[in-house]
Every structure is written in structure tokens, then in C-alpha cells.
């Protein structure tokens, strides 16, 4: 009897808590929400802008500038998430000398909401990654690495759910196969699980069980591979799953002129995006939500 009381109390309390996120305006006629997803990938310790003499990326990039843009966009739309698709480490002496401490501190300062892991994040070994965790005030989401028997066990999340103005956003993460890419002594007993199976499970859990309005996959699998066409990549994940709305990719340092739209296994559109590397660009995807009443058509319009 007491247990039932407790359950009822909890149910009531959590209902109120959930509703707490909704303001009064949620009951007016023209209720709508814009969710902004900002993203980076493969920043590779590029903290300062490239020098003016650089042949390819002169004067581009720089975390201090990224911070300005992010701050401005968050001011314009508080319903914003800032995400990263991995390979935060390796690429400038900042990593070689400080082991990633500054990279994590800066991402925390920019208030990153989540990141997945790239292969280069293991460059100082799994212990080197673990050592820097106290500097990261944001969660790592990785769904297909089993860290049992490693120091990283319990320090990452299978997925993370964010609620912005009543919109539920589920974020999960996919890492690339470390075998052959990273020295086994660096990833130790980390087990790599099939990303397609994991993506199918995660998207089902987030969409059906957790009732997320948006499902985002942070992937470090790579956009696609020309030579090894069968190698699992973001385009394969998009095609062979359902219920993912956006895949934010990395690893292949792909500069896409615009997000790629792919049909998933249920015939619905999935966006796949990647913004090159080194913090040269910031990706921005806006999802517009409205009450059914105001909806013009039943299909979602994609302007990319």
C-alpha cells in the first residue's frame, strides 16, 4: 500500500516536473518552437585560428570566435544544443603538451551539451582520455563502445535526452572500429559493437520508449568511403535505420556544401551533415515545431 502511494506521488511529481518546462504560452493558439542544433567535428586541438600565411585555411577557425557565434545564437534562441562528433584531440602542440586539458576546458566554457568520441581521443591511451574527464563539464555519448573492464566504464552515456521548451531531443553516439586504427594498447579492452544494430536499437528506444520528438546521432564513423564501399559509414546508418532525424558526422573531414538528405528504411528523410574539420565551420540545423493545428502540410519541409 505504501509502495503504491509512493508510486502515485512520484508519477504526480514527475508530471509536474515535466510540465515545468512548458511555459504558459504552451496553451495559446500559436505555440511553436525552434530547436537549433549547432555542431562541430574533428576540431583536432585547433584552438587558435590558422595563421594568415596558411595556404588552405588562412585566418579561419579559432575557439574564441566560435564562442562569440555560439553565445550570439544562444541569445537569439535559448532552445539550442551544441554538439560535437569527436576527434577533439590531436593536431596542434596544445594536445601534445597538455594532453587535451585545454580542449575540454574550452568546450566546457562554450557549454557544449554533449560529444561523442573519435579514434584520436584515444591517442594518449584510454587512461589519457580518462585523465582529462574532470575538465569536461559535458557528457560523452557513445552507444557502441562497451567500456566494461576499462577506466572509462560508467563515465559515458548510451544516450542523453534534452528537453527544450517541451520538445524532447534524444542524442546517441556511434564510434568507429578502433581495431586497425588505434593501437590496441591505447584502447585496451574497449569492445566495438556493430553500429547499425546499435543505431537501430537506440533510435527505437529514443523514439518509441522515450517518445523523443527528435533523434540525433553523433557519429564518428565517417561520411562515406570511396575505395572500401562496404565500410560502415553515416550514409549506411541513415539508410538502414528509421526514426533518426539528423546524423552529425565526423572522421572523414568532409566539407559538405549542404547537409545530405537520405531516405531511411521507412522512406523518411534523414539529414546527414559534417562541417569539415579544425573548427573552420559551425554547423547549424534548425528544427521548427508547431501545434498540429498550425501545420500547413503533413510532410516536413527541408530547406538546406
Amino acid at each position: 500500500m505504501k509502495r503504491r502511494d509512493f508510486l502515485k506521488n512520484t508519477a504526480a511529481a514527475s508530471t509536474l516536473l515535466t510540465l515545468g518546462g512548458l511555459s504558459l504560452q504552451s496553451f495559446t493558439e500559436d505555440y511553436s518552437t525552434k530547436i537549433t542544433i549547432l555542431h562541430t567535428n574533428d576540431t583536432h586541438s585547433h584552438i587558435e585560428p590558422f595563421e594568415a600565411s596558411h595556404s588552405k585555411y588562412a585566418n579561419k577557425g579559432g575557439v574564441a570566435r566560435r564562442a562569440t557565434i555560439v553565445e550570439q545564437l544562444r541569445k537569439e534562441n535559448p532552445n539550442t544544443l551544441l554538439l560535437d562528433a569527436g576527434d577533439i584531440f590531436q593536431g596542434t602542440p596544445f594536445f601534445n603538451f597538455f594532453g587535451g586539458e585545454l580542449e575540454f576546458k574550452l568546450m566546457s566554457m562554450l557549454k557544449y551539451d554533449a560529444s561523442t568520441l573519435g579514434n584520436h581521443d584515444f591517442d594518449n591511451g584510454i587512461g589519457g582520455l580518462y585523465k582529462q574527464l574532470p575538465h569536461a563539464k559535458f557528457p560523452f555519448v557513445i552507444s557502441n563502445y562497451d567500456f566494461t573492464n576499462t577506466v572509462m566504464d560508467t563515465h559515458t552515456n548510451l544516450y542523453k535526452i534534452f528537453i527544450k521548451n517541451g520538445i524532447k531531443i534524444g542524442v546517441f553516439g556511434l564510434g568507429i572500429e578502433l581495431k586497425g586504427l588505434v593501437d590496441p594498447k591505447n584502447y585496451k579492452e574497449t569492445k566495438y559493437l556493430d553500429p547499425i544494430g546499435v543505431a537501430q536499437d537506440m533510435s527505437r528506444i529514443l523514439k518509441e520508449e522515450q517518445k523523443c520528438d527528435l533523434v540525433i546521432c553523433l557519429s564518428h564513423l565517417g561520411y562515406s568511403y570511396d575505395v572500401n564501399k562496404d565500410k560502415v559509414c553515416d550514409l549506411h546508418i541513415a539508410e538502414q535505420t528509421k526514426d533518426i532525424d539528423l546524423i552529425i558526422g565526423g572522421h572523414t573531414h568532409t566539407f559538405l556544401p549542404k547537409p545530405t538528405v537520405v531516405k531511411n528504411s521507412a522512406g523518411k528523410d534523414v539529414l546527414v551533415n559534417q562541417v569539415g574539420c579544425y573548427g573552420i565551420n559551425l554547423g547549424k540545423i534548425d528544427f521548427y515545431f508547431d501545434t498540429d493545428k498550425n501545420k500547413v502540410s503533413t510532410s516536413t519541409v527541408i530547406n538546406v
Binding site: K8, N9, A12, T15, L19, S26, F27, Y31, H44, E48, P49, N59, K60, G62, V63, A64, R65, A67, T68, I69, Q90, P93, F94, N96, F97, F98, L102, L106, M109, L110, G166, V182, D213, V227, D245, P259, L271, N273, Y278, G279, I280, N281, L282, G283, K284, I285, D286, F287, Y288, F289, D290, T291, D292, K293, K295, T300, V301, I302, N303, V304
Partner: protein, 251 residues
Amino acid sequence: MKKYILLLFSLLVLVACEEKKQSLYKIEGSQIPVDDKIVSNEDVEKLVAPYKDSLETQINQVLTFTKKDLNRYDGKLESSLGNLLADLAYEQGNPVFHKMTGKNIDFSVFNYGGIRASIPSGPVKYRNAFELMPFENKLVVVEITGKKMHELVDYLHKAQRAHPISKHFRIAIKNENPHKVMVNGNKFDENRNYYVLTSDYLQNGGDNMMFFKDPVNMYELDYLLRGAIIDYFLKQDTLRVTLDGRFQTVD
């Protein structure tokens, strides 16, 4: 009782809300270039400053030593720095490739233009490694056919430049034609495939090395060329480099 009223109220609110459930109707994608038109955030700069100061000190840490100047122009078709680069890339890259495939790389090829700075005699610092290879180029091994090997030799011979090749590969030019091409002490055999170590940049057609495009197989070592340079320098007390005539013109 109070609890139940609360619960009932909550449910009513929930139902009311569900009628107005929001649905996705539009997605817009864009990309914001991070460039010098954007003002830097001062808090970020303040956090970075002490690390940058410390870095300046540390980047001058000594890795190894060289008795003579190393550059890319002290030979005709080979150079001290080119030979060093191609050989060290092989030495660092082959164990990675071997672990991956059980096979050995035949030789390495890079480009003259990829050597971005000389290393003056004296202590060799981290800074030198970063100046020599400022790019994030990664090592890749391509399996190419004997036919593509012909194209490779033809390219090197026509370029008349000291493109770095490792000591396992020897080319002699006679009367303006490739005269003797040796791989690991054996005459080049056009009926077999070769495993060539190079950078992802060159594999992708950089410097017009088109013979690396569409290889039979490609293996990404996921090892930065600069990483290989630093790892090798750390292993050596003193760099020993010679011009050994691996690529030369003979009479």
C-alpha cells in the same frame, strides 16, 4: 486525498497539452564560417593565454640533434631531408601496416613540395617537426599494379625533382630514360603489385600523383606524418642522413 487531486489536475493538464502537441514541420540547414570577421570572445582568450605562454617554452624542447643542415636541395634527384623523411616514414609506418595486414610495405614516396622547412644544424626541437610538416597529412599504404608502377617511375623521372623516396626504392636514369628500377634489391617486376607508403594528400591525387588514385587496395594507417616524424626524432640521439644515390642520373 490532496495527493489524488494533484494527480487528477496533472493528468488534466497533460491531456490539455497533448491536444496541442507540437510536430516538426520544417528543417533548415546552414553553415557558419568561423573567420576573422568574428570578434574573439575575451574569456576564451584569457583561458588560452597561460597555455600559449607555456607552449612557447615547451615547443623549444629538444627532440634530437643534427650535425649538418638538413634540407630538400642538397642533392639533384635526392636530398638529405627528403631521404630522412621517406625513410623515417617507412620505419614508423611499416610496423603499423604489418600489424594490420601481416605484410610489409615495399617502399615510400612523398613529394618535394611537402617538405615545408629545412632543419638547421644543432638541436632539433618540436618546433622543427611542426614547421617541417604543418599539415595534418596521414600515412596511407596503397597497393598498386605493375602498370601503375610504370606511371609512378615515369612521373618521378619526368618531374626531375628530388621527390622523397625511401632507400628501398632505387631509380637510375640513363639517356633521359629510366634505366634501372630496383625495389628491395630486386628488379622491378611489372607483373606484381606493390605496397607503397605515401600520404593521404598524395593518394588523393595531390601534386598530380594520379597513379595513387583508385588503387587495388588502400590501408589507412591513421598515423599523422608529423606524428611519425616526432616519434622517430624522439628515438634518435643524433640524426644520421646520407645521400646514397637512390634516385640518380647515370652515364
